[in-house]
Amino acid sequence: MSIDPSLLAKLPTIKLRARAVVEGVLSGLHKSPYQGQSVEFAEHKEYAPGDELRHVDWKAFGKLDRYYVKRFEHETELSVLMAIDASGSMNYGSTPLTKLSTAATFAAALAHLLIRQQDAVGLLIFRNGAFSYVPPRSGAGHLRVIVETLDALEGEGRCDLESMAKALAEKSRRRSAIFVFSDLFDGADGGLDALLQLRLRKHDLTLFHILDPDELTLPFDDPTRFLSMEGDGLALEAHPRELRASYLAEMCAFLDETEQRATARGSDYLRVSTDDALDRALLRFLARRERARKDGRPA
């Protein structure tokens, strides 16, 4: 059962929305898809009640007739950095949820899940050429900080993926999972490439491409004066019907190219529309991660 985005929008805060999404996700989730990832063997420790049986070293038991369990480095400290594009274009929303609200809800729900399994979650928000940073930590108190930060989000200014990539590279020195929430409407040519170069630093990069249905279909009929939302003063007066065909061709090419480039660099790419059920989208994402883990692929 999915959560209708219009019902989700009626919930006043990101916290409540994220919880609703997480509950929907948990009802269909059996175990964390992130368990055991990015960990290294450290030492043996004598078994004590409470230790997981799956970590018992049965070879040592055969040799020593004693129960030892393996200990791993960073066992419970997967570092996840969520980057949110809070440019002006993310404020657009033809559905009850804007793209920014959708990104924030999705990020909060994901943070909820990750912190719930003791992972460290950080937040990097890009807005009007600057960014604000919440370092990765775990714990319920940190979740509240993240959710409150997301709750206060407002979009403004232009999208600059290159700056976002630089900031992410700077803030994630060790291997991290990086989730980018953006519409990727960056006018510069190298923005996406800069972002994808994070893969070269062994980061696990996932692009959440947040789009509005209007942007996918251009459903307008009347003569319209289109205004830019990123504060650059651009405007275009046009008859949407006349432009629709070429616009959709442009948009399809952009989406296809973006997905192709992202997957080619080993990144995960998930397109999320603001009218999608977010719990379903999150489950889809988690299921894909689980499959990738079983297949031994990075994603």
Partner: protein, 708 residues
């Protein structure tokens, strides 16, 4: 040439052409502002498609504008107006609209007759006349005595034009122009103009006639402006063939009731005609067909020979026809023909002879039994003549009969009273006293004594022989001998003949006399029949007439006259509009004539001494005559007559407008074609249809552009 409109109020609709511009401006103002995240994609799309979009927009704008402009303009019926014509409209003008309704206006061109075009042009012209100007409408077919004055009742003028119809007659357009000009004289306005709606057929104009003028109120004489409304639209003359003449004559050499029909066909066109079908129709059935090749402007004759299967005679109706063309009315020529019945003549031989050349009746029987003769002879000996014989014949020839019995005379007298004919010739068997005694009541004049001018066997008998001195050429039987045909008759020598008693009771009409004044042939009516007395013989004993060339026709015509079959031949062929005169006394019995269109006309007027006149010959065809016969109204088929169109109207060549200008005055004449009056464009298509075609094209273009 300026543009004008037949329905100017509809031209206001052309303002609709501003609608696309207004919608464009309105939509620009109406553009709703909308913040949009993916504006960069929109701008890129716009950059890519801007040129094509702009072109498409311009084309759409043009198509819509032209569509909305063309439709109202087409409905307004635009036309070009000659500037000279406009220049002539200086203030109030009295206008006379004359319409040519002659036969040539029936020519069909492009599915419409030229009269219909002329009518439309005249109605258009009437609409253009300012409300305050007086208008007179003249039908060129009307009589010169029908005075028309300009009036202000535009509705009446419109009705007058609409009620006109083309005739089948020739019309003198010069006279029509004169009538139109005279009609304008009744208006005190100084500006006057005549609009003549015509096909400008050359035959209708008489440029030798005086130029029509009109007197102004100040006494000066001027010519009105003449505007020719060209119903032929300036086109080349239509190809038209017509039956110019039909000559019908009997062909005795081919047998009785055999007639030759010579159909003269005139090619009035500029191109040669090939395999033009010519047909002869008798009583509704086509009895002969032929084909003609006729060079341009030439005539050709198609001859048909037809033998009628009417042994008893009778009237027939028929027509000669050619393949139909632009002017159908002149492609048929109607005729009526009365085939004379076979006349049976009882020939009573008073002096038979074993040698047939010396037989009294050899020559007369040979003449009457000749091929093509309407008479058939029945020989009888005098003693064998019975009353029953008389009932089976139409006339009796008594050739050199000595005397008849009283019973025979009585029967013969009754026979003549009933309408039979009696021809009496004399000879050596005739005793004057006995003849007078027995046949005195029947003779036109009584016999006196025999005169022998010279004995045939005397030396040079012809020098002293008598000759005919005079002939009554007014008699139908002798009328063909008026010219050289009569020379043979007048050259005949008569050696002996009976002199007659001086005129008394009974008397007769002397048809021929000898050079000494003695009657040679005398006729008398008795009862319903007639008696002719020839005072010489019918064999060669008393004259050489039987071996003269005139003998055969003379005998045939005399017998025809006696049997009253001589005058019934082809009836006169009248032209449309000509008067048919029925001579007395026959006319006294006429009661009714049925025209080809079924309209009935009665003879109300009392007959004049010349007879009864019938003048309502307005349409070509056969007019059927009815009259009283034995007190009952009966169809008199023999009196039917045919009326045909005047071939002058078949020549559709157009008059040179320059000649017309030279006649009427160059500065006064302008020609307005249908193209100039809203009918047509320069290429011959009506302007309004061109505009509608343009509108349709614009509509299709708009649909295609919208689908892209």
């Amino acid at each position: 040439m300026a543009l004008s409109f037949a329905h100017p109020e509809l031209a206001v609709g052309a303002l609709l052409a501003l609608l696309p511009l207004a919608i464009h401006l309105f939509n620009r103002q109406r553009a709703r502002p909308r913040p949009f995240g993916a504006i960069a994609f929109l701008m890129r799309s716009k950059r890519q498609t801007a040129r094509a979009l702009r072109l498409r927009k311009i084309l759409l704008f043009c198509a819509r504008t032209m569509l909305l402009l063309a439709v109202p303009l087409a409905l307004a019926r635009p036309h070009f107006v000659q500037p000279t014509e406009s220049a002539q409209a200086k203030g109030p003008t009295a206008t006379a609209i004359a319409i040519d309704t002659s036969l040539s206006m029936r020519a069909v061109d492009g599915g419409r007759t030229r009269f219909e075009r002329a009518q439309a042009l005249a109605l258009d012209a009437l609409r253009e006349v300012p409300i305050g100007d007086p208008v007179a409408v003249i039908d060129c077919a009307s009589d010169a005595g029908d005075a028309v004055t300009p009036g202000f009742d535009r509705e009446a003028s419109r009705r007058a034009i609409e009620s006109m119809s083309p005739t089948h007659a020739f019309e003198d357009l010069s006279a029509c122009l004169s009538r139109a000009t005279q009609a304008l004289a009744a208006s005190p306005l100084p500006n006057k103009r005549v609009l003549l709606a015509t096909d400008l057929a050359q035959a209708g104009f008489d440029l030798g006639a005086p130029t029509p003028t009109v007197q102004l109120p100040d006494g000066t004489v001027t010519k009105p402006a003449l505007i020719l409304l060209d119903a032929a639209d300036g086109d080349a003359p239509l190809a038209n063939a017509a039956i110019a003449d039909l000559d019908i004559e009997p062909v005795p050499a081919l047998g009785r009731a055999t007639w030759r029909f010579s159909v003269t066909v005139q090619n009035n066109g500029e191109g040669a005609l090939s395999d033009l079908g010519v047909r002869l129709r008798v009583d509704g059935e086509v009895v002969a067909k032929g084909f003609l090749d006729i060079p341009p402007r030439q005539k050709a004759v198609q001859i048909f020979t037809h033998r009628f299967d009417k042994s008893g005679g009778g009237a027939i109706q028929g027509s000669a026809e050619i393949d139909s063309d632009a002017l159908a009315a002149d492609d048929i020529h109607h005729f009526t023909l009365d085939i004379p019945r076979e006349v049976r003549a009882l020939v009573v031989n008073g002096s038979p002879h074993p040698n047939r050349f010396l037989d009294e009746t050899f020559f007369v029987r040979a003449a009457l039994d000749a091929p093509g003769s309407p008479v058939r002879t029945i020989p009888r000996e005098l003693d064998a003549l019975t009353p029953e014989d008389l009932s089976a014949c139409d006339l009796v020839i008594l050739a050199n009969v000595r005397a008849l019995s009283p019973a025979q005379v009585s029967a013969l007298s009754s026979f003549v009273d009933r309408g039979g004919g009696l021809f009496i010739s004399l000879g050596d068997q005739v005793d004057a006293d006995l003849f007078n005694d027995r046949l005195g009541a029947l003779l036109p004049r009584r016999l006196r004594l025999l005169k022998t001018a010279v004995h045939p066997k005397a030396q040079s008998p012809k020098r002293r022989a008598a000759r005919l001195g005079s002939l009554d050429l007014s008699h139908p039987a002798l009328s063909p001998f008026a010219a050289e045909d009569g020379e043979s008759l007048m050259a005949a020598h008569f050696f002996s003949y009976f002199l007659l008693e001086a005129e008394g009771q009974p008397t007769g009409r002397t048809l021929a006399s000898f050079d000494d004044g003695a009657p040679a042939l005398i006729e008398r009516k008795q009862g319903q029949g007639r008696v002719m007395l020839f005072t010489s013989s019918l064999d060669r004993a008393w004259s050489d007439l039987p071996i003269r060339a005139a003998f055969l026709p003379l005998m045939q015509r005399l017998m025809g006259s006696l049997s009253r079959t001589l005058e019934v031949t082809q009836s006169d062929s009248l032209r449309v509009g000509e008067v048919k005169t029925f001579p007395l006394p026959f006319a006294e019995r006429l009661r009714e004539v049925v025209a080809p269109d079924g309209e009935r006309f009665s003879f109300d007027e009392p007959p004049s001494p010349a007879g009864v006149r019938f003048s309502k010959t307005n349409a070509p065809g056969v007019y059927e005559v009815s009259g009283l016969r034995q007190g009952e109204l009966t169809r008199l088929r023999a009196r039917d007559f045919a009326v045909n169109v005047d071939p002058v109207e078949s020549d559709l060549r157009r008059i040179d407008v320059d000649e017309l200008k030279a006649w009427f005055g160059d500065e006064n004449v302008t020609r307005r074609t249908a193209a100039g009056t809203g009918g047509r464009g320069e290429d011959g298509w009506p302007l309004w249809s061109l505009l509608l075609a343009l509108a349709f094209c614009c509509f299709v273009a708009e649909c295609l552009l919208l689908r892209r």
